[in-house]
């Protein structure tokens, strides 16, 4: 329908989440009409983010170096790990100012329907971290079907290894969050309360 480069751009844009064919076309023509500087700045920003930003080798949060700023920070309590689904879930918890531990980003949640099994998440890496002297793991996965199952699975795995690493307390965020809501959309006050009122999992 369009010349090669344009249909390639439309094709790439339509792979983005929430972007359908029509929106991709609109964006492509917007880029085509834009100043050369603006369009190239976009291309450069994409290239830079892919080159410079990777995953932290410890917690799998986004990071510009081998380790993220939180893992580098000497003042953070390394005996306390907060487990979240996505890098975006770290931000609202940081914003509460209530949390002084470190994180572990799973990279998703268990969802057999989408073919996501425990091996597809950074669960083995979490268990290894816990083995090296951690006193509490806060499970802050979303209160959704998949988030609850993920929390349950990790809690059970930690229990199974309890013999190896002694007593680690496993807690879940208090249920101040509305059922089915994403962490990403929770406000600071609610989330702060949920953190303060976290409870031990059996």
């Amino acid at each position: 329908m369009y010349a090669g480069p344009i249909s390639r751009l439309i094709g790439e844009l339509s792979k983005l989440p929430g972007i359908g064919q029509r929106t991709a076309q609109r964006l492509a023509f917007h880029i085509l009409r834009a100043d050369d500087d603006d369009a190239l700045a976009l291309a450069e920003a994409i290239r830079e983010v892919k080159e410079k930003v990777g995953l932290c080798e410890v917690c799998f949060n986004l990071s510009e170096g081998p380790r993220c700023r939180i893992c580098e920070d000497e003042r953070r309590d390394r005996s306390l790990i907060c487990v979240v689904e996505e890098p975006a879930d770290v931000i609202p918890i940081e914003r509460t100012g209530e949390y002084r531990g470190v994180y572990h980003v799973l990279g998703g949640a268990l969802s057999p329907i989408d073919g996501i099994d425990p091996e597809d998440l950074k669960i083995a890496e979490l268990l290894e971290r816990v083995d090296s002297g951690v006193s509490e793991v806060v499970l802050a996965t979303n209160p959704t079907t998949t988030g609850e199952a993920t929390a349950l699975h990790i809690a059970a795995s930690l229990r199974d290894r309890a013999g190896a690493n002694g007593a680690v307390t496993v807690t879940r965020l208090a249920s101040g969050l509305p059922v089915g809501a994403d962490l990403e959309h929770a406000d600071e006050v609610t989330l702060g309360k949920a953190l303060a009122g976290r409870r031990a999992l059996g």
Binding site: L110, S111, P112, I113, G115, D117, P118, E119, T145, T146, E148, A149, L152, H153, A156, V179, G180
Partner: protein, 367 residues
């Protein structure tokens, strides 16, 4: 919140018109085929966004019209609910021009119609879905129990299927079993509570309408205990892996309607099924009122034809205590004036509600 008026355009055989709806009982009367049931259907379509009849949306659109469209005016806030469907199959359902959110923003509705007889004599899935919705109507905070359980069940089924096909390890199956058990507990408890709330009124109203010994019964295959459900799932694990589905849990439960100690769906006559459905809907209405919830809008199609005069009077008296009712009858006399019942009657002939405001061509163009 109640329905103040219904306005339809291009809907089945109905003339484009606006019909005011009274606060109590509204009787739609006229000969067979006049359009009484179509007007009830228009109200339901406006509230729910689809029909209560079997068949597809296109059947709702009048001959040679591009679209069927219903507007409901809600009192006292004056909000307008609009439902429309056109020949390309495009649907709209809007409240004051915005897509509908929670069910809280519109009245509950309860329908008696031959196509609803499935609730009495159809497969158990229809009754489960119905009573799970009633749970949400009685206790809005529990409205998502069915969805939550359904989502978790779908995940467990997907996992069982993938394990059976050697695409996934069974490592997380125990996790999903436990989650499923956890979601099953409040669902089973709520169904039991709903059936408990309906039990006495179903028997009483059934008898009053002529069906002696009617009962509603829920016997879950497993008590609402997380450990028991979990171990039940574990016991059937091999079986489930062989068939790639989940063979245990409340998704297979039956809520039974019975009379004279037997299952109504197998042993009842057509007339007994009709009375059972009416008794059930009235019992639900009573349970909602008792729980402090608003009485649902009752849409009752031709309920009088099989009742004797004494029972007709009893029914009108029972319906007059709260909320709105729209019912159809071929003869006006089929709905007797009962003590305290305020009945406003609307005659319908050839799709035209008599005395209703017609909608001019200009209105139709504006639509």
């Amino acid at each position: 919140m109640h329905l103040a008026a219904v306005e339809s355009r291009g809907f089945r055989n109905l003339a484009d018109a606006r019909v005011a709806v009274g606060a109590g009982i509204t009787l739609l009367h006229g000969p067979n085929g006049a359009g009484k049931t179509n007007l009830l259907e228009a109200v339901y379509f406006g509230l729910v966004g689809r029909s209560f009849r079997a068949g597809n949306d296109r059947d709702l659109i009048a001959y040679e019209q591009p679209a069927a469209r219903v507007e409901l005016e809600l009192a006292p806030q004056g909000a307008v609910l609009l439902a429309a469907t056109d020949r390309r199959g495009e649907r709209r359902h809007l409240l004051d021009g915005r897509p509908l959110g929670s069910s809280e923003s519109r009245p509950l509705v309860s329908v008696f119609h031959p196509d609803r007889m499935e609730l009495v004599k159809g497969p158990p899935a229809k009754r489960r879905a119905h009573f799970d919705r009633l749970v949400g109507a009685l206790w809005p905070a529990r409205a998502d129990l069915r969805t939550r359980y359904g989502r978790t069940l779908a995940q467990r089924n997907a996992l069982v299927g993938r394990i059976a096909a050697a695409l996934a390890s069974p490592a997380s199956l125990a996790t999903w079993d436990d989650r499923l058990a956890a979601e099953a507990v409040p669902l089973i408890e709520s169904r039991a509570e709903v059936v408990e709330a309906l039990s006495a009124p179903v028997t009483e109203l059934g008898a009053a309408l002529g069906l002696e010994g009617m009962e509603i019964r829920y016997r879950p295959r497993v008590p609402p205990e997380r450990e028991r459900i979990g171990s039940g799932l574990a016991e059937r694990r091999e079986h489930d892996l062989g068939r790639a589905y989940t063979s245990f849990g409340p998704q297979l439960d039956e809520v039974e309607l019975r009379f004279g100690g037997r299952a109504l769906k197998r042993f009842g006559s057509q007339g007994q099924h009709r009375i059972a459905l009416l008794a059930l809907l009235l019992a639900e209405r009573r349970a909602l009122i008792a729980a402090g919830r608003p009485s649902p809008l009752m849409l009752l199609d031709d309920v009088m034809s099989e009742l004797d005069p004494a029972r007709r009077e009893m029914l009108v008296a029972a319906l007059a205590d709260a909320g709105q009712v729209m019912l159809t009858a071929t003869e006006r006399e089929q709905v007797p004036a009962a003590a305290g019942a305020e009945v406003s009657a609307v005659a319908i002939r050839d799709g035209r509600p008599l005395g209703a405001a017609g909608l001019g061509a200009a209105d139709r163009d504006a639509a």
